[in-house]
Symmetry: C2
Subunit: 452 residues, 2 copies
C-alpha cells in the first residue's frame, strides 16, 4: 500500500491550496502545523517551490526545522539556498545536531560557516561535520545525556528529568568513566524497573556493543540489527564516547543500503529519487548503457567470427534468444542469491566454495532440464534432430557457466573491495551471452555438414 | 563487512568443538551461555544437527528459548521436531508470545496442541496463532502492560516496576478506556520526564497511530518507519487494542520486503536462505527459467520470420546482441526505478503518467546517443553506412519502447494487485528483445537491396 494513502493528503493539500490562493496565511500555517511532522514534510514537499518559499517564513522555526529534517537532501539544499541566512540560523538552531550537520554539509561552505558562527550548539554540530557521510561518525548524533557509574537510579532519573532530552536519544544511557571512556550502558527500561537506591554500575551492561567513528554506516546498522539495539554508542580510537547512532538513522541506513543494491543490480550505479532532474538521470544511466554497449561488442565479435556458418544455416539465428537468454536469466538468479547473501552476511567469504558447488550443481541440473526441453522444441519446430542436439548441448554448457559466473564474479568483486552489486550484472550477462553464442555456433560449425 | 567477522565465532566454535569431542558438557554450555543471545544462536546454528540435539537439553530453558527465537524458521522446525514434547513445553514457556506462536504455527498441529495445552500463556499465544503470517496480527505480540488515563505518572511507573516487562515491549505504553478501546499512548520517555503527580491523560498523545489486525505487515512497517515509532498498537474492527508490533519485528519486515523485491527482480519468485536444499532451490528457479524459455520463443519466432533476410545478409547477426542487449539494459534501469519507487511510495499511483513521460523522454535522449554510437560502430566495423543507419534507428526505436515498457508493465501489475517486482522483469525484457529484433530485421528487409 502506498504511503500517500495513509492519510488524506489530497484533502489537506486542496484546503491549503484554496487558503493559499485566497492569501489566508494564518489558515495555511495552522493547517500545516496541525499535522504530524512527517506529514507536514510530505504535504510541504508537494507544493510548488514559490509557495514553499511563501509558507516557510510563516511557520514557527521549530516547525520549519521539523519539516527540513524530514525532506530529501536535494530539496533541503534548494530551500536553504532560497532562505535568508538569518532565517536559516533560526531554523538550524531548532534542529537535532546530526540533522543540522547534514544540512550544513550540503550548502555552500561560506553560508554554512556563517550559520555555524551564530547557533547555540555550534561545537556539537562542528564536531559532527568532520566525519564522512557514509561512516558511523557521519550518521551519529551528539549525546544529550552522560551518566556515571556511581550515580543511583534515583539520581539518574532526576538528571533525565532536568535535561528532558529528545525522545530518540533517551532509551539507552551510556556510562562514562572520568576520562570519557565508555564503560557501560543502561537501558531506560532497566532504570525504570530498578529500585530507586540501586547504583548504576549494579545494573549496567559492562561490555556494551560499540562502533568506531570511522566504521562504515552499514557495519553500525548491522550491529544494531543483530543485537536489537535502539542506540549504538560511537567511540574513537581511544575508546572514548563521541556520539550515538539512534534507531531512526538505522532504518534509513538499512533502507538506503537495500535501495543501493537494488539500483546497482538493475544497472543504475547511483541511487536517485524518482523525480530527479532528467539531466541527472541521464548522467547516471547513459555511461552504464555505453559500458553495456562495449561489452555487447564482445558477443558481436563472436557472432561475426561465425558469419559464414550463419550464412549457410540461417535457421540457427532463431535460437539465439533462447540459448543466450535463458542462461542469462539463470546467471541473474545465481548472482541475486549471492549478492544478497553477501549483503546480509548469510554467505561468509570462506563459504564461497560451498556456494560455488551448490550453484554449479544447480546449473547442471537446471541445464539438463532446460537443455532437454530446448532440444525437443528445436527438433519439433525445425524438424532437424541434430539442430536440437546442438541447441540443447550449448544451453546446458552455458547454464553451467552461468552458475560459475553468478558466484565467482560477485565473490571476486568483494575480494577486490568493490560492492559485489556494482559491476557484477554486466560482467555476468556478458559472460553468458558470449559463451552461449560461442558454444552454440562452434558446435554448429563442427557439425555444419550435417546441418545444411 | 560480513557479520561473521564481528565477533570471533571461529574461536568460540573451535573451543566448543574441542569440549564437545571430549564430552565436557558443562564447558560447552557455559561457553555458549557466556555469549550474547544473537551470538549464541549464530554459533549454535553452525553446529551439526546431532551436536545441536546433544546440547539443547543441557541449556537452561530460557537460553534454549532465546536461541530458538533467533534461528531461521526452517531450522527451528527441524529442531522442534527432534525435541521431546516435555522439553519443548519448557522451552516454549520461556518464549515471547509472538515467537511462541510463530514456532507452534510451524510444527505439526497435534504437537502444537499438546504444547499449547500445557504452557502458561496459552491464551495469549492462541489468540496470536489465528492471524495470517504476513499480516499485522501475524507479527504482533501481546501487550504486557496496559494503563488507564486516570493513573498518575507515579502509579504507572510503580505498575511497570511490578510487572517488569520485557524491554522491547516497554517503550510505549498504550492507554485504554473501560471497553479496551485504544485512547492514547505515552512513551516511556514522557513518563520518566514528567513530574510524578501528573495524570496520564495530561501527557498522552490522544490520537495514536494504529494499524488494523488484518492489514499487511508492510503497511504496519511503513507506518512505524514514517512516524519513527518504536511500537505500533494493533487494533480490531472495534478499535480495541489487541496487540503491538515492536521495532525488532519492524526491522525484520523491512529487510524481508527488500529481499523479496531483490529476489523477484532477479527472477527468483520466492525468497530462500542461501543454504536452502538443492531440490527447493530447483523447484523455485526452474519454473521461472521455463517461463523465460517460453517468452524467448516469441523473439525466436521473429528471428525465424526473417530467416531469408539473415541468410542473405549474415553480417546482420553480429549486431543482435547490441540492438536487443542495450535496450534490455535500459528497460531494466527504468523498471528498477519504477519498482523501487512504488515500493517506497516515492511514485504514487496517480503520478504514473509523470513517470511515463520522464522515462519516455529519457529513452529518447539516451536512445539518440546510443543509436548514434552504434551506427558509427557498425559503419566503421563493417564499412556499410546503410547498415549503420539500420542498426542505429532500430536501437533508438527499441530504447523508446524500453522506457515505455519499463514504466507501464510494473504500473499495470500494481493496478492488477500483483507485486510489481514479480513478473515485470520477464515481461519487460521479452518486449525489448522481441521489438529490437523486429525493428532491426524489418528495417533491414525493407532496405535489403542496398544491404547485400
Amino acid at each position: 500500500m502506498p504511503i500517500t494513502d495513509l492519510i488524506n493528503f489530497d484533502d489537506v493539500l486542496e484546503k491549503i491550496r484554496i487558503e493559499l490562493s485566497q492569501g489566508n496565511w494564518d489558515e495555511v500555517t495552522s493547517l500545516l502545523e496541525s499535522l504530524r511532522r512527517s506529514d507536514q514534510a510530505e504535504v510541504f514537499s508537494d507544493l510548488p517551490p514559490d509557495q514553499q518559499q511563501e509558507i516557510l517564513p510563516l511557520l514557527a522555526p521549530e516547525n520549519s526545522a521539523d519539516i527540513l529534517e524530514e525532506l530529501e537532501d536535494e530539496d533541503v539544499f534548494e530551500i536553504a539556498n532560497r532562505l535568508e541566512t538569518d532565517r536559516l540560523i533560526e531554523i538550524v538552531d531548532q534542529m537535532e545536531p546530526d540533522e543540522a550537520a547534514d544540512l550544513l554539509g550540503d550548502i555552500p561552505s561560506d553560508q554554512a560557516e556563517e550559520v555555524l558562527s551564530q547557533i547555540d550548539e555550534a561545537d556539537e554540530v562542528r564536531s559532527l561535520l568532520i566525519h564522512a557521510d557514509e561512516t558511523a561518525g557521519g550518521v551519529m548524533t551528539s549525546l544529550d545525556v552522560r551518566i556515571q557509574q556511581d550515580m543511583s537510579v534515583d539520581e539518574a532519573i532526576w538528571h533525565l528529568r532536568n535535561l528532558s532530552p529528545e525522545s530518540e536519544t533517551i532509551y539507552y544511557l551510556f556510562v562514562e568513566d572520568q576520562n570519557d571512556h565508555l564503560v557501560g550502558v543502561v537501558s531506560l527500561r532497566d532504570l525504570v524497573v530498578a529500585s530507586p537506591g540501586t547504583l548504576i554500575h549494579e545494573i549496567m551492561d559492562e561490555s556494551p556493543i560499540s562502533v568506531r567513528v570511522g566504521a562504515d554506516q552499514e557495519e553500525a546498522a548491522r550491529l544494531m540489527q543483530r543485537y536489537d539495539l535502539l542506540a549504538l554508542p560511537v567511540v574513537n580510537e581511544q575508546q572514548q564516547l563521541v556520539g550515538m547512532i539512534t534507531y531512526d538513522d538505522l532504518l534509513d541506513v538499512l533502507e538506503d543500503e537495500a535501495t543501493e543494491d537494488i539500483y546497482r543490480l538493475g544497472g543504475i550505479p547511483k541511487e536517485q529519487p524518482a523525480d530527479v532532474r532528467l539531466s541527472s538521470a541521464m548522467k547516471t544511466r547513459l555511461p552504464w548503457l555505453i559500458l553495456n554497449l562495449v561489452t555487447a561488442l564482445i558477443s558481436a565479435t563472436v557472432l561475426s567470427i561465425f558469419e559464414d556458418t550463419i550464412a549457410q544455416v540461417a535457421v540457427l539465428a532463431a535460437f539465439f534468444p533462447i540459448v543466450a537468454g535463458v542462461s542469462g536469466s539463470a546467471a541473474t538468479q545465481t548472482l541475486t542469491v549471492t549478492v544478497r547473501g553477501l549483503a546480509l552476511g548469510d554467505i561468509a567469504p570462506k563459504e564461497g566454495l560451498k556456494t560455488l558447488g551448490r550453484e554449479l550443481l544447480l546449473g547442471l541440473v537446471n541445464g539438463l532440464s532446460i537443455g532437454a526441453i530446448v532440444a525437443v522444441i528445436a527438433f519439433i519446430w525445425k524438424g532437424t534432430p541434430l539442430l536440437g542436439l546442438v541447441v540443447g548441448i550449448a544451453t546446458l554448457l552455458d547454464m553451467i557457466c552461468a552458475g560459475l559466473a553468478g558466484v565467482l564474479v560477485p565473490l571476486m568483486m568483494q575480494k577486490l573491495n568493490f560492492d559485489p552489486a556494482l559491476a557484477s550484472p554486466i560482467l555476468v550477462t556478458t559472460t553468458t551471452d558470449t559463451l552461449g553464442y560461442f558454444f552454440y555456433l562452434a558446435l554448429a560449425t563442427v557439425m555444419i555438414a550435417s546441418l545444411v
